[in-house]
Amino acid sequence: MRLALAVVSLVVLVGSGVVIVDQFHSQWQDHQKAYFNQALGLAKTPAERAALDGRTPRLEQVIATGFGDARVDRCESCHIASDDPRFTQGKEPLRTHPYSAEMGDVLKDGRWERRHKFTEFGCTACHDGQGRGLDKADAHGEETEWPRPMSGYTTQADWDKNIAGHLKGKEFLQANCVRCHADKDFAGAPEVAKGRALFFKTGCFGCHRIEGISSGTLGPDLSEEGKERKVDYLWGHIVDPRAYTPTSIMPKFKLTDDERKSLVIFLKSRQGVDYSSSAVAGYKLAGTTNKPVPESAIAVESTLSTSLTSAARGEKLIEGYACLSCHKLDDHDGGISPDLSREGLLRDEQWLTDHFKNPRSRVPDSDMPVFGLPENDYRDMAAYLLTRNSPAPAATPAETYKNLCARCHGEKGDGKGINSTYIDPAPRDLTLAEFMANKPESRLINSIQNGVPGTSMPPWSKVLTADQTKGVLDYVWASFVKTPHRQLKPRKIPDVNPVAMTPESIHQGEAIYLQRCTGCHGRKADGHGPNSLDISPRPRNLRNAAFVQATSDRRLLESITYGVEGTAMPSWIDYGLSQNQIGDILNYIRSLNAEPKTGK
C-alpha cells in the first residue's frame, strides 16, 4: 500500500513538474534570447548596446484592426528580427523579412521603409496562420483542425501526399493580396489573374456563381470558397471531384498542374470579404439583379473583327469560349461531352439555338450549363456548327463504330465511353443481350437513324447511309450482343391508348402510379426513386417531355404491360394490373408531359 501510494504520488509530482516546466519554458523566449545575443554582437554604438542590455523576453504582438475582424498577431514573439535589417542572412525565425520594391517598399537614405508596415498589417493578413499561437505548430497551423495554415508554406498532416507537393510556394500568398487589391488587373497577383482567366476559359463560370463575376447555378456558389476550404481540398477537387463528393457532376477537366495552381490560388482568393470595399458597396453589389457578363465574352469579342462572316465568327467564339474544355471538335478534345465535329448533320439551327439558350429544353437531364452569352453569339456559333457537315468517310463498320459511337457507348460497347458519366440518360449498354435481342431490328435502326429525343443520342441518318447504319448494327450485334436475333412473338397491344384521356382516368392513373411506380421512378416521376441508385440501366425519367411525347402509345403500353427485358422494369400484367389500369397510368404520364416544352 505504501509503495503504491508513493508511486502514485510521484507520478502526480512529476506530472505537475512537467506542466510547470512546460509552461515557463517557451520556444519564443529562447528565440528572443538568441536574438538579443546576436544583436549585441552586431551592435555598433554604445547606445544600441545599452538598449539591448536591459531587454528580457516579452510577448510581442500586433493588433491589426484594419482588415475585417481585429486580428492579434504574435508572430514577432519568435520572428523578432523580422524588421531588423541586420538579419538578412539570419536563420529562421531570426531573419529579416525581405524588402521588396515591387511590393512598394522604399529605400530611403540607406534604410528600407516598408509599404505594408507590420504594425499596421500584422502578419496573418498576408501569410495566414494562427496569429495568436505562441508555439510553432499552433502558429503555423500545422494541425489538421487549424482552419488557416500558413499559405504556401505549411502542409497539414491529413493532406494527400501527392497533392501537398503542389501547394508550396509564395505564389499562394497572392490569394491574400487581392483581398485588398481587388481590381482584376492588379499586377502584383499574376497567378490570381491567370486563375481568373482560366475560370472563364475552362467554362467554370457556366456552373459556378462568384459574386460580381459569374452567375452559374448548376454548381455550388464559390464566392466564399477560399474562406471555407483549404488549398488541398481545392486542388484535389479540381483533379477528381468525385473523390471528394461522390455524387458530384463536375467533370474532370484536362488541366496542367500550372493551370490547377492558378485556379486554386484564384479560388483561395475568393473569401467573401473584400477588405477594400465598404459594407455599403457590398450591399449594392448583392442587390444588383444584372447577371455579370462573362469576362471571357468581353475578352473574346474584343479580338473579333466586325468583317467576319457569321460562321467564321462562330468558329472563333467556339474556340475562344469554354466549349472545347468539354466538347470534342476535330483534334481538340475536352473528353467530357459529345463530339461536335459533325454537328451540322445531326442538328438543325432551331435545335442548336434552343440548346444554347437552355440545354435542358432539348435534353432535360443535360448537365451542360446555361452560359448566358449574348444572343448573337449563339446565332453565330450555331451557324458555324451547321457548316460542320462532312459525312462520315466510307469505312468499315468497326471503324465507324469507333469514330462515332465509342465516345459514349464505349470501345467495348458496355455503355461506358469516356463521356458516359456525364450523360443522362446514360448511353445504352449494348452488351445487354437480354435487352437488345428482344427489340425488333426496326426499332434499333430507328434509334440510330432518328436518334432518341430528349437524350444525347442524335439522329445519324444524314451522317450514315442506310447501308452503313445496317453495317454498324450488324457489327454491334456480332461484337457485343453476341446472341442470335430472336423471333419475337407478336403481342396484342393497341396502337392507341384505349382509355380516354379524362380527368378521372388521370386521377386513377396517379393513384396507381403512387402505389406501384414510385419506388423506382420516384414520386416526382423523374426517375430518381429510392431504388433507382441500385438499378442499371436507371429508371426512365418520365418527365422527359421530349422523350415521352415522341414515344408512341404502343411502345409505352408494351413496356408497362410486359416489362422491358434486360432492365428492372417488370411485367405489370403479371403483377395484377389490368389493361385499363395501365391505360390510366399512361394517361397520367402523358398528362405530366402535356405542356409543349419543346419545339416539334
Binding site: 506530472g15 505537475s16 506542466v19 505562441l134 508555439d135 471555407e228
Partner: protein, 425 residues
C-alpha cells in the same frame, strides 16, 4: 513584571502551536478514542463513519468507482472555475478564446485538457459505478431511494457533459449539439417545445450557447452538488455500503452476548456504534470483528484513489490534446454529424426509428432503472458480485448494458458518411 514578561514570551513562543491547536483540535491519534475523535470532530471527515466495514475497503468490491466519480467532479469544478476566467459565451468570441487557451494562456492547455478528459471520464466512471451497484445488488432495500438519487446523478452528469460540449463553439460542438437536441425534438407532444426551450431558437445559435453556458456552470453543478450531498448522506443513513447479511457469511466464532453485558464489559467498543445508525445492538459482537477505524484505513484508501485519479488524468492530459475542430460553419455540416460518444448509442437507435430510438426505448430503460429496486424486493445476494441468487437480474442488466455499448461502438466506429455502415479496419 518578569513573570508577565516571561508569560508573554512563552505565549509568543507557543503561538504557532496554539494556532495549530485551534485549527486541529486533536493531535495525531494514538488511541482508538483519538482515531474516532479525528473522524467525528473534523468538518471534512465527519461525513465518514468512525469505523468502517472491512468489506467496504476491499478494492475488488467497490473498485473505488463512486469515489473516482466524486474526485473527477471536484477536478471538473476546480478546472471549470479556472476556465471560466477566460471563457466568453459569445458566438463571436468563444472560439477565439479556445485558441487563446490553447496557445497563449498560462496553463491553458492542461486546464482544458484536464477538464475535457475528466468530463468524458466522469460519464464513463459514473456509469461503471452504476453497474457495480447493480451487479452487487446494492440497490435493494433500504437503499432504493439512494439508487434513484444515483440515477438522477447519472442523468445530470450526462447533461453537464452535453452542455459543456457546445461551449468551444467549433464544428464538433455545433453539430453534436444540433444532433443531440434534435433527438430531444423527437419526444411526443413536448419535443419541439423542449428543443426550443433548450436552444432558445429554432437552431443552435447565440441563445443556445448562452443557455448551455448557464446550465453548464451554474444550474447543473448546483444540482449535482445537492444530489451528491444527499447521496453521501443516504449512504450513511442507509447503513453504509451494502454488504451481505452476516448470516450469509461464514460466521466468525463470536459469542453473541446480551447487549448490556457487552457494552458494560468493553466500554471502548462503544465507539463502534458510532458507525451504525440502524440495527440492534446485538450485532455489535459480529460487527466489531469486521470493522476497522476509518482513520487511517479508509482515509489512506481515499487518498490513494484521489492520487490515482489525478495521476491518470494528468497523464492523459499531457499526452492527448482536447479536440478542437474548425470554427462553426453553419453551411458545412460534417458528414456524418455525430453526437458526443455517450449519445451515439441513442443516435444509432434514432437511425432505425426516430421516436422509438430517441425517446421510447431510452424512456423505458430509464423507467426500468428507476423502478428496479421496487420491483426486485428479494433480499438475497446483496453485497456480493454476481451473486448466484441474482443471476437473472444481472443477466438482464448486462444485456441492456452490452446492447448499449455495442450500439455506441457501432455509432462511433462503424458509421461513415450518410450514416452508412463502414469498416474502421
Amino acid at each position: 513584571m518578569s513573570t508577565e514578561k516571561k508569560s508573554l514570551w512563552k505565549d509568543l513562543m507557543d503561538l504557532p502551536k496554539n494556532i495549530y491547536r485551534s485549527i486541529f483540535r486533536n493531535p495525531l491519534p494514538a488511541s482508538d478514542r483519538g482515531r474516532a475523535a479525528t473522524s467525528f470532530t473534523n468538518f471534512f471527515l465527519h461525513i465518514q463513519p468512525v469505523r468502517v466495514n472491512k468489506r467496504t475497503l476491499r478494492p475488488s468490491y467497490t473498485m473505488g468507482l463512486g469515489l473516482i466519480s466524486f474526485f473527477l467532479f471536484v477536478i471538473l469544478a476546480v478546472t471549470g472555475v479556472l476556465l471560466m476566467f477566460y471563457y466568453v459565451p459569445s458566438t463571436t468570441q468563444a472560439y477565439d478564446r479556445m485558441l487563446d487557451l490553447r496557445s497563449s494562456v498560462a496553463f491553458g492547455v492542461i486546464l482544458r485538457n484536464m477538464h475535457r478528459w475528466a468530463a468524458h471520464a466522469m460519464v464513463a466512471v459514473v456509469f461503471l459505478h452504476m453497474c457495480r451497484v447493480f451487479l452487487t445488488g446494492s440497490y435493494k432495500a433500504p437503499r432504493e431511494f439512494n439508487w434513484n438519487i444515483g440515477v438522477g446523478l447519472f442523468l445530470l452528469t450526462l447533461f453537464s457533459s452535453f452542455t459543456g460540449y457546445l461551449l468551444p463553439w467549433d464544428q464538433l460542438a455545433f453539430w453534436a449539439i444540433t444532433v443531440g437536441t434534435s433527438i430531444a425534438g423527437y419526444a411526443p407532444l413536448i419535443g419541439h417545445q423542449l428543443q426550443f426551450l433548450l436552444l432558445g431558437d429554432a437552431t443552435v445559435g447565440q441563445e443556445a450557447l448562452l443557455r448551455f453556458y448557464v446550465l453548464h456552470v451554474v444550474v447543473l453543478p448546483i444540482a449535482l452538488v445537492l444530489l451528491v450531498a444527499v447521496h453521501f448522506w443516504r449512504i450513511r443513513k442507509d447503513g453504509g455500503l451494502a454488504r451481505p447479511e452476516p448470516s450469509e457469511l461464514p460466521a466468525p466464532a463470536a459469542v453473541v452476548a446480551p447487549a448490556g453485558e457487552v457494552v458494560a464489559a468493553l466500554p471502548a467498543r462503544r465507539f463502534a456504534i458510532q458507525g451504525l445508525v440502524k440495527g440492534p445492538l446485538v450485532k455489535v459482537g459480529t460487527l466489531d470483528d469486521d470493522t476497522v477505524f476509518s482513520w487511517p484505513n479508509l482515509l489512506i484508501a481515499e487518498l490513494f484513489v484521489l492520487l490515482l485519479t489525478v495521476a491518470g488524468l494528468m497523464a492523459v492530459s499531457l499526452f492527448f490534446n482536447a479536440p478542437l475542430e474548425h470554427p462553426v460553419n453553419v453551411m458545412h455540416p460534417p458528414n456524418p454529424a455525430k453526437a458526443p460518444w455517450y449519445f451515439l448509442g441513442l443516435q444509432e437507435q434514432v437511425s432505425y426509428s426516430a421516436f422509438w430510438g430517441g425517446v421510447g426505448v431510452p424512456a423505458i430503460e430509464l423507467l426500468l432503472l428507476v423502478l428496479v429496486p421496487y420491483i426486485d424486493r428479494s433480499k438475497e445476494g446483496v453485497g456480493r458480485w454476481f451473486a448466484r441468487q441474482r443471476v437473472w437480474a444481472n443477466t438482464l442488466f448486462l444485456t441492456f448494458v452490452l446492447v448499449n455499448i455495442v450500439l455506441i461502438v457501432i455509432g462511433t466506429f462503424f458509421r461513415g458518411a450518410n450514416w452508412q455502415f463502414v469498416s474502421p479496419f
